[in-house]
Symmetry: C2
Subunit: 361 residues, 2 copies
């Protein structure tokens, strides 16, 4: 393991699409559905043998530090970084860059997220190792693209350019362009062309490369890049972040940098990736019954098919309903069609305006 | 109030169609949805000014006596009669007849049930008073028929014969025949004819008339008719019932007597009756929102219509679902289409075969 390799897991999400199981105080990354372990624990496990805990950092929300420490016990406390408020991924990357650069000016950072699942962990590890190698010179921003398995409209895509013929197990191409979530016909074209991969939101870059890109495309983030080196103590850094963050715009790293930079290369990572962004995506990781119902927990069904039921501490009894998502938490039950699971986010926003919102969010 | 008038409320039902709110230990008659008071309390309230508590009896299951006493505090304890097991309404009527006859050989008994709702209580009271008067001579069995407001297929019907021109506020006809739940075309014919009323399961008869009808049509019930007078104490009666009941067939009073007797008259009772036999029927007693959703409790809805939501201690959040019944209890959530609410009974039967049935039933 190269001592310059760092991993930064972005875990600040609120996981609104996983309400009611995920709540403000227990977001998606803490939900234990997959083998009984929360997503954040799985994300750390995947790094074993690639990046050691002392060079693995988690950036999360200030108020989730304690909960994060509970599921990331192998990390030194100083590797858990809290943001005072969410400002999307460009800000989080700038902070990650600043922190690693302050520790190691030759650091190479893999930006990862806590809310993904992968089935072939060894291939992921190999892809990540090769990506560190490809990013080490600082010439390229490396992103990991996932060869698509269906014409998803829920992911962004990366168009592959020339094959770079690196001498690695992983194939690398120039990234010709990043495109946002396509409509269905466009997604079908992408798949047919064979030239597009899913954008999995994983980026591996030298801290100098990161700094340069951020300084060019999002100059307002420079104070954030400098804050860690300038802070005399963790407390001083916290104060500085509290002063800087509220004034930042919310911008994603994809929009701010990846859609504009011309030095991006894409590592192809066929390791069974899924961002499990919605309940139906979660269901895809569990065995279905003969009528295509996926049940996590306890249920009784009469004439029901295609449903996703999450009901770990209560019973869900259904008669004659199809293709619904049904999720029970301690406080609430959610019911919506599978193909409208994206709207849970909207529902949570509505709930947040209720006087009794605290009971449910 | 005539001292010979008695009311016997049959309250032994298990209310399986109201699962998960009703359970074996808290059946339908104890559910508090209507003005916060259980159905059994409402049934007693309706009798105020017609029959006093000391002449009102409740026949329920042995194991529900304590719960019943809790909501029927105005009744003397000896007026709560427990059946050792359920044997349908013919047996319960025989027991009621025997008990009243032992107290008062000139008793006139109104057989009522605990699981009905009425909107015009004063009209009900007047109908009941007139029915006692019509039954007093012992010549007739009086039943209360409800002028139908729609072609229900969930109720039995009574065909009206000659108008008896009794000098009462209530109109009385001979009952030409009792018919069981019809199919939809037949129900429509009944409504169109103007000659049919719903069978509300309320019967008013002199104890001599009851005894005679039961002795003719269900002679096996004679030991039950005699048991109360023969028993030296409440304990002795309990023992006698425990010996008699298990051997009885389950037969309804409608099937055993009403479909066969030729001395039945029908009082017309237009007092907004409903037997609230299913969740959609319950919903009919509550105001709906602009999209025809009825919500009892707490809910948040996006693009949903025609749903019945019972969610008193938890939140029900729905997106894009229509015409569903959704009921949350402490242990379980039920989801089914409104027009399949009858199948909840089947679901409960299935649940009862689970090893963890006790948690949910």
């Amino acid at each position: 393991m190269d001592t310059h390799h760092y991993a930064v897991i972005l875990a600040g999400g609120r996981g609104e699409r996983f309400w009611p199981l995920s709540t403000a105080s227990r977001p998606k990354q803490f939900i234990s559905l997959f083998g009984g372990r929360p997503l954040i624990a799985l994300a750390l496990e995947r790094l074993e043998g690639v990046v050691p805990p002392e060079r693995t950092l988690i950036i999360t929300a200030d108020d989730l530090i304690e909960a994060t420490a509970g599921v990331a016990r192998q990390l030194p406390p100083e590797n858990l970084i809290g943001e005072p408020c969410g400002r999307d991924t460009a800000a989080a990357c700038a902070l990650a860059c600043g922190i690693v650069a302050a520790r190691d000016p030759d650091g190479v950072v893999a930006i990862l997220t806590a809310d993904q699942l992968m089935t072939d962990i060894e291939t992921f590890r190999q892809t990540l190792r090769d990506s560190y190698a490809a990013a080490a010179s600082g010439q390229h921003i490396v992103t990991i693209g996932i060869p698509p398995t269906y014409p998803a409209t829920g992911f962004g895509y990366i168009e592959a350019g020339d094959d770079l013929a690196f001498p690695t197990a992983t194939r690398f191409h120039r990234a010709r362009r990043f495109v946002e979530k396509p409509d269905a016909p466009t997604a079908a074209q992408y798949i047919a062309s064979g030239n597009y991969c899913w954008n999995a939101g994983m980026f591996i870059w030298h801290v100098r490369t990161m700094r340069a890109a951020l300084a060019v495309f999002v100059p307002e983030l420079e104070p954030l890049l400098d804050a860690p080196a300038a802070a005399a103590s963790p407390g001083a850094l916290r104060e500085r972040l509290a002063a800087l963050y509220p004034g930042l715009r919310k911008v994603s790293i994809d929009y701010a940098v990846m859609e504009r930079a011309d030095n991006i290369v894409m590592a192809q990572g066929a390791f069974g990736w899924d961002d499990v962004g919605t309940w139906p995506a979660v269901a895809g990781h569990f065995a279905a019954d003969a009528r295509n119902n996926v049940v996590i927990g306890s249920s009784e069904m009469i004439d029901a098919s295609g449903n996703v039921v999450v009901s770990e501490d209560r019973l869900t009894a259904v008669i004659g309903v199809n293709d619904l998502v049904i999720v029970q938490s301690d406080q609430a039950t959610l019911i919506c069609p599978r193909d409208r699971a994206q709207e849970v986010k909207l529902l949570v926003q509505r709930l947040s305006r209720r006087p009794d919102a605290d009971k449910y969010l």
